[in-house]
């Protein structure tokens, strides 16, 4: 099993009442700069203590994450993260220019000497407002954009693209990726449609903002469909993103995490604006198991989150057992460990405990 550190690069300051989009009048550039510097330090530290991957994601218009373009952070990471793979989990490709995405991934792969992991996600429902893209087109845009990106990476003859949603008269990207034919691709796969698509196209499966029971359904669907298409996913094909905090004792970990959660409630990006979420829902965004998809995105209490495997929390012994359970149930080979609250030295300590006390005991799990 491999460990990734996911840092949303959260704004570590007061952000006013919950909602989305969040007005910018409460934003402090000083806090924003410190938040980014602190998060970059966490990612650099994770690399130094032996994490396999470091991860950033794309989110917009909110203090939840200060990385509307994860590629920019990825570029910075190529210069300070020396060994770990640098995972963009992901670019929200249905709302972006796919050729630009292909170019940026190739740039990052070149700058990192071939260490980039290419996450292609649909994003959270609210993201579709960001660049005025109809969420009803989300899946079709995703599928076409992904194929176009792969073509941009692999086709060395300049080509035109006559798509349904995208049209280009000449594509010929420079630089080309170091990893050939292209960086490993993961896509969000929490819905049945997504896990089927991932299996059909031999793409890695990434699950975020979910829980183990729901993820088990996705993984089972993924494996069944992969078999249908003649291949068998390994642990490296499955990423499970999960919030974590580790301290020397269970009590300390819970106390630290609870205090941070009370001071800065994390909430749900998806449900921060209920009217908006309803509108996206009515566009058919969630797909055929809509109720389950909405349910997995609903906020839960702390103990419930721990019980369903959405949060790893406790001492090294406790968290080791929680990870073993996740592996037993999912067969996930990559844990994308999420820093929900940047607690400075306490978070650095949690990263150290994960690297020195926990990962050596679970690394053998495949």
């Amino acid at each position: 099993m491999k460990a990734a550190l996911f840092c949303p690069i959260r704004y570590n300051g007061a952000a006013g009442p919950p909602g989305w989009p969040v007005p910018g009048d409460v934003y402090s550039s000083e806090i924003g700069q410190k938040s980014m510097q602190s998060s970059m330090a966490l990612l650099r530290h994770a690399d130094e203590v032996g994490f396999d991957w470091v991860t950033v994601a794309e989110h917009h218009y909110s203090p939840f994450s200060l990385t509307p373009n994860p590629m920019v952070v990825g570029g910075a990471m190529t210069q300070v993260v020396k060994n770990a793979k640098i995972a963009m989990l992901g670019a929200t490709i249905p709302i972006l220019n796919p050729v630009r995405v292909a170019e940026e991934f190739a740039m990052l792969d070149t700058m990192s000497n071939g260490r980039v992991v290419a996450g292609m996600f649909r994003g959270s429902p609210n993201e579709y407002v960001t660049y005025n893209i109809n969420p009803a087109e989300s899946r079709e845009r995703f599928e076409e954009a992904l194929q176009l990106i792969k073509m941009a990476w692999t086709e060395t003859e300049p080509f035109a693209w006559q798509g349904r949603y995208y049209e280009y008269k000449a594509v010929s990207i420079w630089p080309r990726s170091v990893q050939q034919p292209h960086p490993k691709i993961y896509m969000s796969g929490s819905s049945p449609e997504s896990s089927e698509f991932a299996a059909r196209n031999r793409i890695g499966l990434g699950m975020a903002f979910t829980n183990v029971p729901q993820a088990m359904k996705s993984v089972e669907n993924y494996r069944e469909n992969a078999a249908r298409f003649g291949w068998t996913p390994t642990g490296d094909d499955i990423i499970y993103r999960v919030i974590f905090h580790v301290a020397d004792t269970d009590e300390q970990a819970i106390e630290e995490f609870s205090a941070a959660a009370a001071a800065a409630p994390r909430g749900s990006l998806t449900f921060a604006n209920r009217d908006l979420e309803k509108a996206v829902d009515s566009a058919g965004y969630y797909g055929r198991d809509r109720d389950a998809q909405r349910a997995r995105l609903m906020p839960r209490g702390l103990q419930d989150s721990i019980d369903v495997g959405s949060i790893l929390l406790g001492s090294p012994d406790t968290v080791t057992k929680q990870i073993e359970r996740i592996h037993r149930d999912l067969g996930a080979g990559i844990l994308d460990l999420t820093v929900a609250h940047d607690l400075g030295a306490k978070t650095l300590h949690a990263i150290d405990l994960m690297a020195t006390k926990i990962m050596p005991r679970v690394r053998h799990l495949q």
Binding site: T154, P158, F159, A160, R164, K169, A170
Partner: protein, 189 residues
Amino acid sequence: MLMTSDKNVKLIDDTGQGAVIVFLRGAAPLSKTVDVLQNDFRVLSFSIAAATPATEVIDVVTQSLESLNVTEAAVVADRAAATAAVAFAVARPELVQSLALLSPENKVGDVSSLKALVLAIFGTIDPARTPDAPRNFCRSIPNCRLMYVYDAGPAVDDDRPEAVAAALQEFATRREGFLVSAKCGKLYP
């Protein structure tokens, strides 16, 4: 006007008005793309029987165009007619303003003296084709541009007629200039 010129090479459809597109097909039915193209072009569709000598195609198509007072045309050919279309473009460069080939196979005859700008159009779904086949094809043709039509198979013009028609329309009208967008991006005045 509909006329039959030859038992192997037949003018099967003459529709629309405007600049002329000559559509060379194998024995397949009329392309669905024609339904779209006829709104802006005069489209002359020829069917060509299998194994028809290229010289016969050149003669019959040339005579047909002369009889219709057509002095220049953009030529489009499906896979089965690609070799004949290339031969026609080589033989009658003054007539052929541009040449678009739909899902062509590797060999399309002697292209060394081909003058026309070529657009080679491939669907993204073709299990029988190797990924490098479109690239290799384009590199074997002088002045060839490569286009992929998303979610289309070998019968690219029937799978995505509107998409192919839009490409043919721009290429026939603007030739190399088709690389530069001429679409209006303004949303509101």
